[in-house]
């Protein structure tokens, strides 16, 4: 799928955080997360999802089109490259 990517403010140690704007909602996107540990929370005013896999963390509000991806600092370049390659290959 196509996506836009932007680095976000990061006042945390040891991580690189990027936002990805998707053509599908986060609710639709989570179907693609086979093998990830996915947690949803519907108690919050806007329900959200957190997914984890191999040091990567994805967060998103279920009805929105933006995910926030946290890559580990020491491997972020490679991890980001693989993540984006995977994302590009996924169909909408």
């Amino acid at each position: 799928m196509d996506f836009e990517c932007r680095k976000t403010e990061n006042c945390l140690a040891d991580s690189q955080i990027y936002e990805y704007k998707l053509p599908i909602t986060v609710r639709e996107f989570k179907i693609h997360l086979n093998g990830w540990t996915v947690e949803e929370n519907h108690r919050y005013r806007r329900p959200m999802m957190i997914a984890m896999n191999r040091g990567l963390q994805i967060k998103g509000i279920l009805d929105r089109y933006i995910i926030t991806v946290r890559f580990p600092e020491d491997t972020y370049s490679e991890a980001k490259m693989f993540f984006e390659a995977w994302l590009k290959n996924e169909e909408n």
Binding site: C11, A13, R46, P47, M48, I61, T68
Partner: protein, 373 residues
């Protein structure tokens, strides 16, 4: 925008009084000022702002205030412009912001100065005994400390700490970014040598304003050299203050905004008691939800940092912002050294303004409560 709860005033204040935007807009539409070449009848927004600021700081010498882009500008001017030489010691604190830390690290690399870090207590406040011990042990050339922590809100006793530093003949630089406009500042009574401030936090002015007060008799080397509008035949910056430290064209529209904010605040003094009560209410409400709130004893700015066991500050901040439209900040807050003394690796920070309402405080407490469940 209607449902937005803005709790990030320690980063930059919002909303501003209506007159601030009006003043900036009018300045942009009007012919520019005369940049130091104006006659006696010309309105000099920079001079008027200096006068207003000097009054606020309980000082006398308005021409000793150099105006620039922000307090980072002022702090860099103070730290890099002060005549520190190889082997000199600077005493500072664990609560300092990167706008103090990074210039000091730079001087350590380039001029081989020694830096002594005075720890803070678990509320983020400098202990006078530790400060005194460091000053007497190391006899620093320069002491740099924040008036209040941007992480916990703890306000330091600047009068006492400056007095101690002066006993060992140190020059004292105070970072008043988190206090000017919210907490009284008295540059003359406290015998402060330099004080950096910003216009866009509790002074309620636009971003792009801030500066440095330099006590009469203290000379700094300018960081920026350039046009001053006057004495163009000189090869160096003119010696007289404040122009000695102000190269280039000032941000006139922004300073019209800051001046408007200062005058508005004089006519509409903040109800400090109300702000303190709301801050206490927030701290107590968060603690009642089970969050671990950093609650320094004594005088504080309206800043509240907290953590929730089992959840990262990043996650909590994300939920508050994205799920509840509560603008806050999470992480290290550009003050990385304080966290060792606070006993945590990051926090979520909520910072109130004079415009924060009781309803907003309740909504924040409710949101955090939902995260706890």
């Amino acid at each position: 925008m209607q449902s937005l709860i803005y709790m990030n005033n320690a980063a930059t204040s919002w909303p501003k009084p209506g007159c601030v935007a009006d003043a900036v807009s009018e300045a942009l539409c009007a012919p520019p000022g005369s940049a130091n070449r104006g006659g006696i009848e010309d309105f000099d927004v920079f001079e008027e702002t200096r006068k207003s600021l000097t009054q606020l700081m309980k000082g006398q010498h308005y021409n000793r205030i150099a105006l620039g882009a922000n307090s980072t500008w002022g702090l860099n001017l103070a730290i890099q412009g002060f005549p520190l030489k190889t082997g000199d010691t600077v005493v500072t604190t664990a609560a300092e912001h990167n706008s103090v830390l990074r210039p000091l690290y730079k001087l350590r690399r380039e001029r081989h100065i020694k830096i002594i870090w005075v720890p803070v207590d678990d509320g983020g406040r400098v202990c006078p005994e530790s400060w005194e011990k460091a000053c007497y042990t190391y006899k620093p050339a320069l002491c740099v400390l924040t008036h209040a922590s941007n992480v916990t809100g703890a306000v330091n006793n600047i009068c006492l700490l400056t007095h101690i530093a002066k006993q060992v003949n140190a020059t004292v630089l105070i970072d008043a970014s988190q206090t000017l406009g919210m907490v009284p500042v008295q540059i003359d009574d406290w015998n402060i040598d330099m004080l950096a401030f910003t216009g866009h936090k509790y002074l309620l002015g636009p971003q792009g304003t801030g500066g440095l007060y330099v006590k009469p008799g203290l000379h700094l080397e300018p960081l920026l050299c350039g046009g001053t509008g006057i004495q163009s035949d000189r090869k160096e910056m003119p010696p007289e203050m404040p122009i000695h430290l102000e190269a280039g064209t000032g941000n006139e529209p922004a300073y019209y905004g800051l001046l408007a904010a200062l005058r508005w605040s004089e006519e509409n003094p903040a109800d400090i008691k109300r702000i303190e009560l709301l801050t206490e209410h927030l701290k107590q409400g968060l603690a009642d939800t089970g969050a671990a709130v950093i609650a320094p004893q004594g005088k504080c700015t309206p800043v509240v940092s907290f953590v929730i066991e089992g959840k990262s500050a990043a996650e909590i901040g994300y939920i508050l912002t994205e799920s509840y439209d509560i603008v806050c900040r999470s992480g290290l807050h550009c003050a990385p050294r304080i966290f060792t003394d606070l006993g945590c690796d990051s926090t979520v920070r909520l910072s109130l303004s004079r415009f924060t309402t009781e309803e907003e405080i309740k909504a924040v407490i409710q949101a955090v409560s939902s995260i706890m469940r």
